[in-house]
Subunit: 249 residues, 2 copies
C-alpha cells in the first residue's frame, strides 16, 4: 500500500496551549495532539505528526511546518479545508498543503528557520496587541540593539543563550540574520538560523532589550557570548512576543 | 476657578463594547462611559467626554482623540498613567495626553480623520488576527480595487455609502486619500477625509471587495457613487476590520 506524505504549514495562537509538543499532566492541550486529532477526524488514520521545531507555551506560529503520512490520497486543498473544518473551535489553522516524496522530513530537511519577535515600545499598556507582543515602557535605543546583534551573527557557541533544560547535542549554532526594524512604536526583531537552542531567541531578545535600555553596552554582548554562561545574559523575553515565522527547505 | 482642558488619544479593542457612544439597554458597556468612570476615579470629578468621532460596536481605535475639562491640574503623564491604572481590566488604554487651551475641541477642531481597514486574503481562516481583520478567501485583485478607489477621491455626495440611520446634516464629504497596499496576504485600505457619514468607510470597503472579487468592474463604482442610492453599493464590511487610526488638528 502506497504511503502519501503531506507537508502542511500551520498558524497558531500559542496563548491557550501548553506548547507545540504533547506534555503529560498539563491543563492545556498541545498543538501536536490537536493537529493529530484533526487528521484522524478527516482520514480515520492515527498518525504521528513531525514538526520542523517545537514551540513553548504562549509562543505563536505564523508558519510552523509539519509532515505526516496517510495511506489515503487527498488533494492538498481538501487537506487544508478538511483540517480547518475540524480545527474551527481551536486557535489553529492550516495555511497550505503540499504532497512531498518520502525523502522530505519537516525537521531534518529544514535548511533555515525564521523567527520574529515583536516589542511594543511606548508608555501605555498593550490593548490591540495584548498577548501578541512584549511591552516595554522605557525608550529603547534601536541603533544600540542593532550594533549588539552584529556580535551574534555567524557560527558560535550559544551556551550563554541556552536554557538549562535544553537537550540539543551541540551548542554551536549558525545565526544567518538578525534584522531589527522600528515602525512607530513597533520594534520587530527577525532572526534566522539553521536551528536554535531552547529559549535561544527569547534569551537573545532579553539581552538586546538590556542593551536598548542602556543597562549594558552593545559591546558587552560580545563578552556575554564568549562567556558561554547563561547567568551572564539577559532574561528570557516573554513567550507571547515570539512567532515561529517559517522554514526554508 | 480655572478649568483645564485635556486632550487624550486612546486605543481600544472594540470587540466587547457596544461602540464608542453610551447606549441605553445594551448588554455591553460603551467606551465613553468607561473613560468617564476612569476620569472620575482619578479626579473625583464627573465629566462629559467629547470624542472626535463615534465608532460602532466591534470597531477598534488605535488613535481615537477625545477631550474633557477638569477643575484640577494634573501633569499629562499623570493623566496617562492614572487613567491606565483605572482602565487595567478594560480593553482601553490612554496613549498620550496634552493640555490644550479652551478653543480646542476634539470634534469641531478636527481637520482630517484617518481610518484603516484590514483584509486578510487567503484560503485559511484567521487565527492570530481573529477579530482584527476581515477574512476574504477568494483572491482579490488589488489593482482593480485601486482603480475603483480613484472615483471616490474628492468632494462628492456619498449617499450611496451612507447608512439609513445616519444623522449627518450634509451628504457631501471630501475624501482626501484612499491608499490600498498589499503585503503578503494582508490588504490594508487607508482612508482619510475631513469627516465621514455613518458606515461610509465600511460601505466603501464592501464595494471595493466586490470590485476585487470581480463581481463588478472598477468603473461601476463611478455609477454607484453617482446613483446616490445605498441599495446600489456593496455590503457593509465587518466592524472588526476597521480601525479609527487618528485625527489631525
Amino acid at each position: 500500500m502506497a504511503i502519501v506524505r503531506y507537508k502542511i504549514s500551520v498558524e497558531y495562537d500559542g496563548t491557550n496551549y501548553c506548547g507545540y509538543q504533547k506534555q503529560p499532566d498539563m491543563p492545556n492541550k498541545s498543538v501536536e495532539e490537536i493537529l493529530e486529532n484533526a487528521v484522524f477526524e478527516l482520514s480515520q488514520e492515527r498518525v504521528k505528526i513531525t514538526a520542523s521545531g517545537r514551540t513553548d507555551a504562549g509562543v505563536h506560529a505564523s508558519g510552523q511546518v509539519v509532515h505526516f503520512d496517510l495511506s489515503k490520497h487527498f488533494e492538498p486543498l481538501r487537506i487544508v479545508k478538511g483540517l480547518n473544518n475540524y480545527l474551527r473551535r481551536q486557535d489553529i489553522a492550516v495555511l497550505a498543503c503540499e504532497i512531498m516524496d518520502e525523502n522530505f522530513h519537516a525537521r531534518f530537511s529544514a535548511k533555515m528557520r525564521h523567527y520574529r519577535y515583536l516589542i511594543v515600545n511606548r508608555p501605555a499598556p498593550l490593548i490591540l496587541q495584548k498577548n501578541r507582543a512584549m511591552y516595554v515602557s522605557a525608550t529603547l535605543e534601536v541603533e544600540a540593539m542593532r550594533a549588539a546583534s552584529k556580535f551574534l551573527i555567524g557560527l558560535h557557541d550559544f551556551s550563554s543563550f541556552r536554557d538549562s533544560q535544553c537537550q540539543a547535542l551541540s551548542v554551536m549554532k549558525n545565526v544567518q540574520k538578525i534584522q531589527i526594524t522600528k515602525n512607530a512604536d513597533q520594534i520587530l526583531i527577525e532572526i534566522s538560523a539553521t536551528s536554535f537552542l531552547h529559549h535561544m531567541v527569547r534569551n537573545i531578545v532579553g539581552t538586546l532589550v538590556w542593551v536598548g535600555s542602556g543597562k549594558i553596552s552593545a559591546e558587552e554582548v560580545k563578552n556575554i557570548l564568549e562567556a558561554k554562561d547563561r547567568t551572564k545574559s539577559g532574561p528570557n523575553a516573554p513567550a507571547f512576543g515570539l512567532y515561529f515565522f517559517g522554514v526554508d527547505y
